[in-house]
Structure formats: C-alpha cells, structure tokens
C-alpha cells in the first residue's frame, strides 16, 4: 500500500542525507520526497510517499524515528488527511491543440501560467491521482516537460504535527 509519512526534522546539515540514506541503505523505496522550512526556523518538514506492506512501513517508521534528527513523525495515511502536490507542465499548444489544452486545464481546474505561441505552461494542484490523470489527458497533445513538487500532506481535523 502507498503511505504518506510526514516528519519534523532538525534543520541541521546532514539531516536530509540521513533520511534519504536510510531509504537506500535499508532497501526501502521513495516515490516522492518533499522538504521545506516550517514556521519554526529550527525545523523542516519532510514528507515522503512510499510503498510497502504493513511490516515494511512499520520498519520504515521505526528506523526513521531512530534517527536523532527526526523530532516527530506521522504516517498520514493512518487517518483522514489532505494530500496535495503541485505540478508544472509544458504542453505543446499549436493549432487545434491550443484549445484542447485550455479545455483540459479548465476541467482539471488547472491554470495556464505562461504562454508562448507554441507552448502553454500549466500549473495544477491536487493529489497524486489527479496529477496522473491530467498528465494522461494531455500526453497525446505533446508534453514537453514536467516538474512536480512531490506530495505534501496534513492530517484533517484538530490533529497537528508539532512539538
């Protein structure tokens, strides 16, 4: 099963490489990875999506928790949560395809954020399945470049991941 694991990480040099290194060292897979600062300057938030059965996910979370730099960790997929990713896609937009791209973007509530005579750059947010669906829809039109941020997520309701 796919899991979204989010953690607060000491904002120290080397912390990120310890997390990433753990995955390769223990033969765990990383599908997406997203890291950014938080409101607390001493902490970053890191989110990974990974696949595995229950036993593997348990091992992943235990080993991550064992890292001294990991301050707190949550497997978001264990409860109700919001998952978001942002993607920028350059799509060929010439002739009749130009309208088709625009229409598809509208259907997905994506925005066209940059325009040239031959290319639209589309920005889309949502969960990973939405990204995949959009890509599938525009692939026949000619996708030139894809930039995805990787999944970020947060639990629904009052539950918070903080110190």
């Amino acid at each position: 099963m796919r899991h979204i694991i989010s953690m607060l990480l000491e904002n120290e040099p080397g912390a990120l490489s310890r997390v990433v290194g753990l995955f390769s060292q223990r033969n765990f897979n990383i599908e997406t990875l997203n890291v950014a600062p938080t409101d607390d300057p001493t902490l970053s938030r890191l989110t990974v999506t990974t696949h595995g059965d229950e036993r593997i996910i348990e091992q992943i979370t235990k080993h991550l928790n064992r890292l001294i730099d990991v301050v707190k960790l949550v497997d978001l997929t264990e409860g109700a949560h919001i998952e978001r990713e942002l993607m920028l896609v350059k799509v060929k937009a010439q002739g009749s395809a130009r309208d088709e791209v625009k229409r598809t973007a509208d259907i997905f509530r994506a925005q066209i954020v940059d325009v040239t005579p031959s290319v639209y750059t589309v920005q889309i947010t949502g969960d990973a399945t939405k990204m995949d669906a959009f890509l599938q829809a525009v692939t026949p039109l000619g996708v030139l470049e894809v930039a995805r941020t990787g999944v970020s997520g947060i639990a629904r309701g009052d539950k918070v991941l903080s110190l």
């Binding site: 000491e10 064992r66 001294i68 110190l163």
Partner: protein, 565 residues
Amino acid sequence: MIARFLKDEGVEYIYGYPGGAALHIYDALFRQDDVKHILVRHEQAATHMADGYARASGKPGVVLVTSGPGATNAVTGIATAYMDSIPMVVLCGQVASHLIGEDAFQETDIVGVTRPIVKHSFSIRHPSDIPTVLKKAFYIASSGRPGPVVIDIPKDMTAPTERYEYVYPRKVKLRSYNPVSRGHTGQIRKAVDLMMSARRPVIFAGGGVITGRASEALTALAHRLNIPVITSLMGLGAFPQNDPQSLGWPGMHGSYESNMAMHHSDLVLGVGVRFDDRVTNNVNRFCPDARIVHIDVDPSSISKTVHADVPIVGAADHVLNEMLNQIGQRTEAQEPLDEWWETINAWRDERRGKLYEPAAAGEPLKPQQVVEAVHRATHGDAYVVTDVGQHQMFAAQYYKFNQPNRWVSSSGLGTMGYGLPAAMGIKLNYPDEHVVLFTGEGSFQMMMQELSTCKQFGIPVKIVNLNNASLGMVRQWQDLNYKSRHAHSYMESLPDFEKLIEAYGFKAITVSTAEQLEPALEEAFRSKDELVFLDIHVDPREHVYPMQVPQGAMCDMLLSKTERT
C-alpha cells in the same frame, strides 16, 4: 577544550594516531597529563582498542584520528562497533572549514562515508560548541541501544590562538532523542501470561542483556520459572554457563541442544537479541510452534526479521524485574516443565562426549582441546577476545563464560584483525586480569603491527594462535560447498612466528604436540605481566560442528563430517 572535556567526562585513555588536521588537539594533549593517549600503528586498531575496552567496561571508548586517510582507516572499526551496538566516540580531524568541499589535501567527507555505520554524527561549526557537542556524543553513544558517534572537527575549530570560555555541560537535552526505559505494563502482563502457560519455553538472551546490565534480573527470572536459557553469541556470559539451565548459544555453529530446544519450543522470550540470520537460519522455518515475546530498547529491532507476538520496548533490566514482580503476584500455577526438561536432557545426552575427537598420540592437536586447556589454565575467568574464523567458533564453544563482559568478539561484522587491538584495549584498562586472545594465523596477520604498540605501552596480552596454516573457515566452506577446491584459503609463506614475536622483544612458544600443550600454557599464564605468544599448530582438516544446513530450520544441522540431524 577537547582535552579538558575528556578529563571532565572521566576518560582515562584515548586511542589514536596524529596527522595534520588533528595536530592542534595533539598539542593540547601533550600539555596535560590526565587523559592518556595510546599511539597505535594503524587507525583501525585504535577503533578496535576502544571497542574492546567498551565491551569489557560498558563505557564508551574514545578514538582520535586525523582527516582523510586517518579517518577512512577507522571505518572498519566503526562498522564493527555499529553492528554490535558498542558505545564509541570517534574524534576525526578535518581540513579547515574554508577548505571543505574543495578536495583539499587529506579531505574526506567522513560524516558522509560513515553515515550508514554510525548511530549519529556531528560536525563542529563553532569552537564554543565543542563541549556541548562532545557531551551529546557521549550521551548518544552510551544510552539506549549504544553505538558509535563520529565528530568531525575542522582544524580551525581547535586553533590555539582563539580562546573561548569552557564550561563542562553536566547534562544535555536532545528533544528528538529520549531512549525508553520502562516497558509497557500491559505488554509485560501478556508476556507473563504466556510464560506461565508455556509448556516448552526458552529464554533467548543477547548482547542487550549485557549492555543493559540485566544479567542478574535475567538469572533470577530464569531460576524463578525454571526456563532453559540460550544466549546469543553476543550474549555469552549474560547467564552463567555452569548453571544447569544453560543450553549454550544457538545458530549456525550453535550447540545441538540449544538449536533443538529453540526450534521445538512453544515460547521464545527474546531479550536484547536481534534474531539475525546467523541464528534463525531460514526465517520461514524458524520456530514453527513458538510464540515470540521480544524485549528490546530499540523498537526497530523488534519484528525486523521475526514477527513478535508480544513486542515490549524497554530496557531489559526494567522489563525483567517488572516480570518478576508480576510473577510474584500471580496466584495461578505455572505449567510444569518436567517433560520439557526431559526432552532437553535427552538432546544433551545424545551429543555428550561426541563433540570432537581429541588428537590421538602423534596426531596434530585439535583446536577444541586447546581451547578447553586454556579454559582450565585460566580457571574460566579470563577476558576472552577472538578474531574471526574457526578459532572464534571453537573459542565460543569450548570456553565457558559465567560472567558478562568477558567474551569479546566481532559478531555482527565478523572483522578479521579485530582481536589483537581489542584485547589490548582491555588489558590496558584491566592490568590485573588475564586477557586471552584466540586468533588464527590469517586474522593475526591483519593487525600484527600492533605488537609494536604493546611494546611501547607495555600491554601484556596472552595470544593463542590456533595455527592451522589456512583460512580455516573459508576452507571449511570450500570443503562443504565447492568440492574441496581450496581457492586461496591456505597460507603458504607463513612467517616464523617465534622469530617475529621475538623481534618485538616478546616471548613466543611453539606447540605442535599434545605433550607440549600443558607446560606451554602453564608458562604462558604464570604471570599477568608478560606478553606471551603461543603458536599452536592445530589440525588444518578440522571443521566446526554443529553447522546448520543452509536454508533449513534451526534444527537442521550437520553434526560432524559424517552425521546429520
């Protein structure tokens, strides 16, 4: 600042080797007398010395090396300590901060290189951070599940021209590191339920019992419930082997009765063990009838290889005492174990007197009989250190340990060359004890330059070289799996060990027959302050048995060259 901290931390010895990036630190050491530095002949030896000391004392060993090659030479020793959860602090010099990343002379990203083999690592960013970082390093290395911690120290961080206020930090707090101590009462209750009702229980105790100083609690619990005790190789001595409840150690070359008992058990109480593949054999066939209770301070050890039915995260000492407590309050009777003990004793009887055949007159000595003779000569209470190979297994099988912290051997990584420096680290700190190294001519030659360190600092270890003129363990595998094609498992051109040892000014005795053995041992162990090297020529054809059959269950063993379970 570093020297002052080490003194305040109570460090008596550090082991190391100087070089450019560490010279400010060496100068500071020169100008004080509290912390003594042992100059090794290779940085790997410094880490093994620290490791040996740590295993014998339970306290972290401290290493000091320079940047680049100094630090990379230490890598094998760091990995060795990591695999066996040994507390160690490794101070590495580094090129000056402004040069980092420029491929400067003797620059290596040692934090990067060691990342997968340390518990944690630090880089010093400001000289005033030194005391707190060091304190954190000692705390992390020695608490919870111990392990090595590397500290990278750029040269400018120790510049003698800059002065900073020094305060010894008595305590450090790490918001993201709080090793557990107390186990969950409810889980402990579940475990006790199982223990009271089990018909064929075994206790399986590992290195965690030794690190966690829980031998007493373990022994009390085992006696209270009359449960047979198996210790892992790392746990040798956690339960006295002269106790009738001791079944020895299990696994690839473990005792017949311990492998049989564990396989047929209905409850395994694992304490501070990690159920590694050298014990379980094929995990899918591991203990088919047993429920597993697993106590460990490190949650990530639990259910890693073998699923735990009752996981208990906590310090062994606390959990075992809490179990005793709860058992004391129980009113129900424990399931009787008489039948179980009958079965176990029958297994014991099956192999009694059949473990190996001592050499007949005129035949080469058997390594097993040498270990037994050393056990007698040292009254079974020496510190026993080994290298890696057949001799290591024979030492573990035939030396019997009644106390914790006496058996010192690289188990997880199996590092040849570990033995001599580890033995030195112990002897230096316990000068009034016998420290015996069982080594093989292969392993010994990986670190024999350290004889020079023994000479400089007067470190009189006793070296028993079980010389089979071959890489015996490799040869055994080749005999069994490669139709005796001995690819590079024998050693032509062995040195004349007697002359070699004498070149360093030490005593060497060559033993090649049974009659020579006892007198040589007597001479070797007469005093505790003379280094003696016994070059004992043993039968090169000998194999270590029992030996688990690959991919089988624990109970599938070869028992000799001709017998199989």
